[in-house]
Symmetry: C2
Subunit: 547 residues, 2 copies
């Protein structure tokens, strides 16, 4: 596994990425090549493969967390798995650099043949506040974080006395009306409706599930009648669908749409924007709209016979010239083509060309309803839903997982969905947050649980006295606020309201205290501020605010 | 739910804690009292109840994460659940203060009758480095964190080339030979042995599981022949048992025993020390060794007829004068007694006295073996194991959970244990770490991924040149090191070795960069250091080290 060039067999094949494309390439290669011919290594961040089509069912707990993933070591028993991050791809010297593990040293992997199947990653660039408040929906962690967040909002709504805040807690917004967005809003709606019964104060409260889509109908990938059926079904189940509009920004209190509409809510899921992984972005080779450019044998341009690219990070064209969509069924066939061609490169033989044109599309609309378009036949409703479950169950590799999923589904028909919040680690570290003009950061009387540093924008410091709001100061980029209450362990003695769009850094009381105690210069900054403020002058000097 | 005194029915009953004692009190009260008589509120940090006896099975994945917990709202459908932390108990004014939720405001709950059933918490006080490196085993999060950590060590061991580090990664130490410690080491050993097969480079590597216990035999709660049987069974399965010794300290590289023995390892589970929750520690009332003092009706001394205390946070004595041990079977009976007495206080009637003397004890030794001592009969081996499973399955409330657990167990008999690492959130925030004299913090050539601040102790800065180690400086409390490599994004240019026992604060590169960019004073401290160092003088000024 050291960076030593190998010229004799076994040839070193390195696969980057453990999604459908990467894992199936390894599986096909294990079948095609003997151990003496090739040593296969797969690099993936996680030691499991995620069965993407079933991911939305994690939200409601229809499927147990561990049942929508499968250990890569069991799927590809002959492949060496390296569970690390990929930091660099050096196509000239044929070396892959991966991140350090327990010991902070990088690891270098040499290859004779390389498969790049790294998929894409969520990208909220250009959407202010989305990184902090929007929830992506791509990985297992995303699904679990969303599930726990939704349960947390229900718990809070049940305790909350303020009807406005309770309405926010019970509003769920999903951006993007593709398969992923539709399945997420359907699951969310089913789940909230089912578990609300167990919350004594929420039983009779309405909840809102809103789907926002930029086109004039959802499910662009399907024929119009099916998409319209899906819209009708979702609306009948209580989902609001907003068409020809889209999410552009978010704060901790609302989702903001392009039309200017703002939806007050505490849950925003954004399924739309994705980009290529940074390690591919910095790769210097032929690209097409950022994606890796390949021929019909899936070889990377200028590296034919040495590097293959497939899945969502590559432009894959069939022999008929059509571009393959980013679906599991295509990724699996691409893997077969790539594996055949790698085997041919090692031991000679016929090369394959990618010619799969797709079998159809399937989308779930929540419990008991789906839309399907398979080999030209259109189906909708319960029948499509049963078909959806059968097809995906069949496609799940391994008897163990098949049995578990079938059991989960059966129990889910008999019992209500689970509502345990299995949040395992507290959120910590230094966070960022975005506020829009007019938003309140905290209110006079709130507990002082963190310190803020303005990175961008301006805010007003307001104090309420005898029912009147008095403007104490205006703070700008580089100013701090909120440390007074944290230092004295008191509640806030002023309200902070954003004057413009504003980005802040939030240091929790826990981290703030640790830093103050151990970095004297850090402590001094804030003690200096406190002193200036204690002198009690109405004009607050720049770099501070009496809060 | 506001802090307003109520004098008319329904009476306000508040239960603190959602373990066996708290949840069963709510369940009994729901049966005994009509909604018009009592409004029941339960406060717990989580919205689920953990079935403690089955927790060790989460490690191996025999039981799915969600199957060892049950939503409290389903167990006690008529009880108002408040999922927050308890910050204060005011016995004089009958008010409970709970932590803030989404909005940073505390919530106050008034009660007419109070049940305190807060259990105990893990406490590593007086064991240097245990907080940072020892893993507790009490909560669902503890079990999941341990499972993920063990899988992570296997993943790393599979990649690691250094045989010494690989041995450390494959060594697992558990402190405490009570039921919890024994069940954890048995599960760990079974799990590692079963999944090692799937790691190509680990198949033939030995692993070590070490149990450390302070007495001359494990399972002090059981008769000696059963404990000796348990020791023999564990040893036959490859577990090393160290008796009459105990864990006293830990670093990231080893477990340190009282005898002075150090076991090089990356996994330390410490099941022993527990203490009362801080909110009870600060409570001013009659106590016995820190625990709440009660009468045989489970009433808190001096608050009879108003406050009940039960479970692990109270000293509960039966009418015969024996102290009740902290087990589930006792907690459930204590709950029945307390509920009966609360109902009697509200509507009159006979009061109950706690008189349960225990049915016996059960302990699992891993797959297919257990020890049991029930109603005077002693059992061991497979029969005891089947009995263990039957009894605990019967005691699990709810058909849904019973079915799920029975299914999990059946599948676990048929298929190998799961090995997906479902770690969901990255560790972040400002961490602490403990080093012993002689320990290396980082080595010259390592990647610079964090900055260190010495809180306590001393360390040497060593540079290797032409095979020789040169002492560059000695650093003390308040000094920083490691920032050089982080600032320049380079590898470490010196080795740091602890000279004495040393506590450091570790700021990750991510947090360090955020702070530097936003808090100019913080940035200046480190820029000043860098400048001083760039001048290249051999004597390094205090407060800095060229690393």
């Amino acid at each position: 596994m050291n960076a030593v060039q190998s010229t004799t067999p076994p040839q070193k094949i390195v696969i980057l990425g453990g999604g459908f494309a990467g894992v199936y390439t390894a599986r096909y290669l294990e079948k095609l090549l003997r151990p003496a011919e090739a040593a296969i290594t797969l690099v993936n961040r996680e030691n499991y493969w995620v069965y993407q089509p079933m991911l939305p069912e994690v939200i409601s707990g229809s499927l147990a967390l561990a049942d929508v993933v499968s250990p890569i070591r069991r799927l590809c028993p002959r492949t060496n798995l390296v569970t690390r991050e990929i930091e660099d791809i050096d196509l000239e010297n044929r070396v892959i650099t991966v991140s350090p593990g327990f010991r902070p040293r990088q690891l270098k992997l040499h290859y004779d043949y390389l498969v790049i199947a790294l998929g894409n990653v969520t990208n909220f660039y250009g959407m202010p506040g989305m990184l902090e408040n929007g929830k992506p929906f791509k990985t297992l962690a995303d699904a679990m974080v969303l599930r726990n967040h939704v349960i947390r909002t229900l718990e809070e709504a049940d305790v909350e006395e303020d009807p406005e805040l309770r309405r926010k807690l019970l509003t769920f917004v999903v951006g993007g009306g593709g398969f992923s967005g539709v399945e997420v809003i359907a699951e969310l709606n089913d789940f909230v409706r089912a578990v609300k019964k167990n919350y004594l104060r929420l039983r009779d409260q309405p909840h809102r599930c809103v789907l926002v889509h930029s086109r004039n109908r959802i499910l662009q990938e399907m024929a119009e009648p099916l998409a319209l059926f899906a819209q009708k079904t979702l609306r009948k189940r209580g989902v609001e669908i907003i068409l020809e509009d889209r999410l552009v920004a978010a704060t901790s209190e609302k989702a903001i749409l392009k039309s200017g509409e703002a939806i007050a809510c505490k849950t925003i899921v954004c399924t739309v924007p994705s980009t290529l992984p940074p390690v591919i972005q910095k790769l210097n080779c032929a690209k097409d709209k950022g994606k890796l450019q390949t021929n019909t044998g899936l070889e990377l341009k200028d590296y034919e016979g040495q590097v293959w690219a497939l899945g969502d990070c590559a432009v894959v064209k069939t022999v008929s010239g059509k571009e393959a969509p980013p679906t599991a069924q295509h990724a699996i066939r691409e893997a077969a083509t790539a594996a055949t061609n790698i085997a041919a490169a090692i031991r000679g033989g016929a090369r394959a060309q990618f010619s799969f044109e797709g079998l159809g599309t399937l989308g779930s609309l929540g419990h008991g309803a789906a839309v399907a378009q398979i080999l030209g036949v259109k189906l909708s409703g319960l029948l499509a839903w049963v078909l959806w479950r059968c097809i995906y169950l069949m496609k799940m590799p391994g008897l163990n997982r098949k049995t578990r999923i079938a059991t989960d589904w059966t129990l889910h028909l008999l019992f209500p969905p689970d509502l345990a919040e299995t949040k395992l680690e507290p959120e910590s570290g230094i966070q960022s947050q975005h506020f829009q003009a007019g938003d309140v950061v905290f209110q006079q009387g709130d507990l002082g649980d963190s310190v803020y540093v303005i990175q961008e924008g301006e805010c007003d410091v307001l104090r309420e006295e005898n029912g009147e709001h008095k403007l104490l100061a205006t703070l700008r980029a580089g100013d701090y606020f909120g440390e007074m209450a944290v230092l004295a362990d008191q509640s806030r003695n002023a309200t902070i309201q954003a004057r413009t769009g504003m980005h802040v850094l939030i240091i929790s009381k826990r981290d703030f205290d640790k830093l103050r105690q151990n970095v004297p210069a850090f402590d001094e900054v804030f003690r200096e501020l406190a002193k200036r403020r204690a002198s009690g002058n109405a004009v607050i000097p720049s770099g501070s605010a009496e809060t």
